[in-house]
Amino acid sequence: MQSNASLEYDYSVAKLFTYTTILFGFLGMLIGTLIASQLAFPELNYMFGEYGTFSRLRPLHTNIVIFGFTLSGVFATFYYVGQRVLKVSMAESPFLMTIGKIHFWLYFVGALVGVITLAMGFSASKEYAELEWPIDVVIVIVWVLWGVSIFGLIGIRREKALYISLWYYIACFLGIAMLYLFNNMEVPTYFVAGGIGSVMHSVSMYSGTNDALVQWWYGHNAVAFGFTVPIVAMVYYYLPKESGQAVYSYKLSLLSFWGLMFVYLWAGSHHLLWSTVPDWMQTMGSIFSVVLILPSWGSAINMLLTMKGEWNQLTENPLIKFMVLASTFYMLSTLEGPIQAIKSVNAIAHFTDWIPGHVHDGTLGWVSFMIMAALFHMAPRMFKREIFSKKLMETQFWLQTTAVVLYFTSMWIAGITQGMMWRAVDEYGNLMYSFIDTVTVLHPYYAIRALAGLLYLTGFVMFAYNMYKTITASKRLEEEPQFRSPMAA
């Protein structure tokens, strides 16, 4: 099946999603930086009236970076990688081409409407599932369209065996479909109540403890199947492609994949330790979180060992730097998570800033680094121009790496400080600190975190500028680069 040297892949859909990745990335990180600053400097809450408070903006930040930035990145890379590993072009099937385009536009319009309704205060108030039911319906349709694209492309494939990346894209598709559907089961009140009240409003099908269980089964695994699985799909494709190295071990990738699939879903209840959820579920959550280190590190080690004997590339190619550091942050993050899932550690860590700290070494260091590297790698192939500036990319790398380190170190300190202060008692056994004492003490760490956000955002603007110049003004390429992406100094 290697006789398709002349096969021209069609990247029109991948390009569209590339643009929205950059757009939503900027918007999401901008809001993130703003809300981080609000915790350090509360006056910043009053810039946009009721629409500008921390509490109203926080779901905007999470939804835009998850469903805007990350999902766009997942779709962009899928529409690129899918064709290439299956050895078919989207141009061969007008049907799939149409589906791909509808997929994009419906997604884009849905995302915009979602952002607007959240800003207006329409919210189901379940974390990362805030969008109200009419938008949920749109999301389900978008997801089905993506499924048609995945299995449609597979249906007309020339390469019979599915490459590792595709395993992960399929798992992402199935996992999110299942989780999203079950967690967003809700009853619109307008219809049951005989046409009174708001059409947008709904109530959850589950109540109290059950709702909590379903929500964190979703919340934890939306991270799994949105922030881990498709990003592993990317690293399995782009790192070998960019470095020209074969994946280190097929068996290790097999073990990591099936291990991850089986273990990940059990760990959701570690978000509910010490809650009213039955003890045995909490214990299951703890144990499986620790077991989860194995498949997570399996993938990461597989990637790092792929670079075996070729570590010189790390100094020569900033794209390799991004991907290797992403894998390293993945290891850090997947070790930190299980530590926090140990019940005694969780007693201190839960409800504190250590949790957002943990989330962000994963999302900034792993997810975002990998998505940006993937977009950089695709740009010369999709737009047939070399990358605009290597120097800018290097600067961006160091700026953002500094930002991530500042972010998680400050949040480690903030979280553990606050967790310890909440439980501190004097010699008579009375609580030592009032709640507000444990808030004011965090000011310096909140300020450092806001600075970290600003640095990361600056790096992202450099990335966006570099991509823009690559697409519009960089030197044209005669033929497609095989491995290392060409870039101007």
Binding site: P42, W167, T189, I196, G197, S198, H201, W274, V277, P278
Partner: protein
Amino acid sequence: MFHWLEKNPFFFSVGVFVVIAFAGLVEIVPSFAEAARPIVGLKPYSVLELAGKEVYKKDHCIACHSQLIRPFKAETDRYGQYSVSGEYAYDRPFLWGSKRTGPDLHRIGNYRTTDWHENHMWEPEELVAGSIMPAYKHHFTNIADIETAYAEAVTVKEVFNTPYGDEIKAGEEAWNAYKPQVLEEAKAIAVDMKHPEVHEALKKGEVPEIVALIAYLNRLK
């Protein structure tokens, strides 16, 4: 087997689905009925309280406040009796939150009063020096959507058998008959409030968000 699966996308997908669906079935299903049972004496939220819960959701209070007191001495000393499952039986959705930038609120009704909330939501710094919570002045002018709250009460009664009285039923007519009760409840709260715009709105038959929110917060015990 794995090589074969990789060439048969359908069976591969079925395999993945079975493996990922397994955990949810084992962990969530067994205790489902038990976990939905209310504690003895638990009353469903009043329509005004539901409208307040909607304000709580709309301004996303769970971003900074939990409603879950864990079974540690440090928590029960600070917030009161630890939370038990049956207390949440009428919470759709649950509002435990995951971050305490501010304190837990599960039993806030035991130790804060209507006038405290009124002053605090207007200017948190005045009551708690060093507070980083923003003021929510718009709650004093925005009108709470009590009609939708009523629709929610009807829905949970019809669909989930939440024990509301017979006067809560579907349709415009039933709502118009019920509305004065909600206004009475709101006025009873507003007795302890000093902002004139609150009283003006109530006179016009409208409930400002702050009144509904305080009704909800007072209910959390």
